[in-house]
Amino acid sequence: MEKKNLDFCTVEPCASSNAFEIKFKSGKIDLNRVALGEVLAKTPAVLICKFEGKGISIYASGRIMIKGINKQEADKFSEEIVSSLRASGALE
């Protein structure tokens, strides 16, 4: 599985089997503005939520981990997540 380069972020498979990571090339994520799925836990550094049945960890430094997905799902999810973060103003 190859790393996908977008103009503002990369989507790449994790070393840990069926998980993908979205890394933003610049900017951080304001966790207080994230409005995505059901929030399971939140600290100043990370927000853990359930979105469309998938476990997602969003880090304030600008990384997002999506667990239990394949490459096709990763592309779909990354687009949805990034749009949601942009709409809510969470991308700084």
Partner: protein
């Protein structure tokens, strides 16, 4: 406030001679990778009295590190591993001098370890391991290789005349083709494996620095926590 070195390491006396303790105090070690094995290696070295460190890691802590990485706690999530390691070192011995590099170890990093006496390869990928081997070989610095996956691990010291690639039968230390054929790092590992691997790596570093016997590649220390034998030496 400077805390006397002798007070901090009083309980080393009897196991280490004054001369050996002095060698450790003066030694400068580099640790590449501050995850599972690197965290435990670091902890052992600072607690034995090493005071000069050069640290490399390009990552921040994430939740999935919690199962095995000593330096990872909920408060440390999303923080740079190098920063967490430096704070840990200073918390144990405020006299420690530490240089941190938030970067992957590559050919550009060579000059940053040129004044080191020993290097600990606690990385998790072949590309970095080959870069460490190449740099150490050129600088004539010995390094210890350590790894852990599942319930297993292996450790050995590479002297400058022994190349990592030749021991593992890679075509050359810079062969990119090697990376494609090398097995991918495995995601599954339980805490005791990197704890033992990192601790053994630190013990081999200590032995080298104070002139005690150590295991040299191509001979390796192997362990498997789930096997009866637990620990053995084997030439590969």
């Amino acid at each position: 406030m400077k805390i006397p070195y002798e007070e901090l390491f009083f309980r080393n006396r009897g196991t280490l001679s004054a001369k050996e303790q002095s060698k450790l105090k003066k030694a400068r070690v580099a640790i590449v990778g501050l995850g599972g094995t690197g965290g435990f290696a670091l902890e052992n070295l600072v607690r034995v009295g090493v005071e000069n460190f050069v640290l490399f890691d390009s990552d921040r802590f994430e939740l999935s590190n919690s199962n095995r990485q000593l330096l990872c706690s909920i408060r440390m999530i999303d923080k740079w591993k190098t920063g967490a390691a430096a704070r840990r070192l200073k918390g144990i011995n405020p006299n420690v001098k530490v240089r941190t590099h938030v970067q992957a170890f590559d050919s550009n990093a060579r000059s940053k370890i040129s004044d080191c006496d020993f290097v600990l390869d606690c990385s998790d990928n072949i590309e970095t391991r080959l870069a460490i081997s190449s740099a150490c070989s050129r600088l004539r610095i010995p390094f210890v290789f350590c790894s852990a996956s599942f319930s297993r691990g292996m450790v050995s010291v590479f002297l400058p005349n022994k190349k990592f690639g030749s021991v593992f039968h890679f075509p050359s230390d810079n062969s990119k083709a090697t990376f494609k054929t090398a097995p991918k790092s495995c995601s599954s590992v339980i805490c005791p494996a990197p704890a033992i691997s990192g601790t053994l790596a630190a013990s081999q570093a200590i032995n080298f620095l104070i002139g005690k016997p150590f295991v040299k590649a191509p001979e390796f220390i192997f362990f498997n926590l789930f096997s009866k034998e637990l620990l053995w030496k084997k030439r590969i």
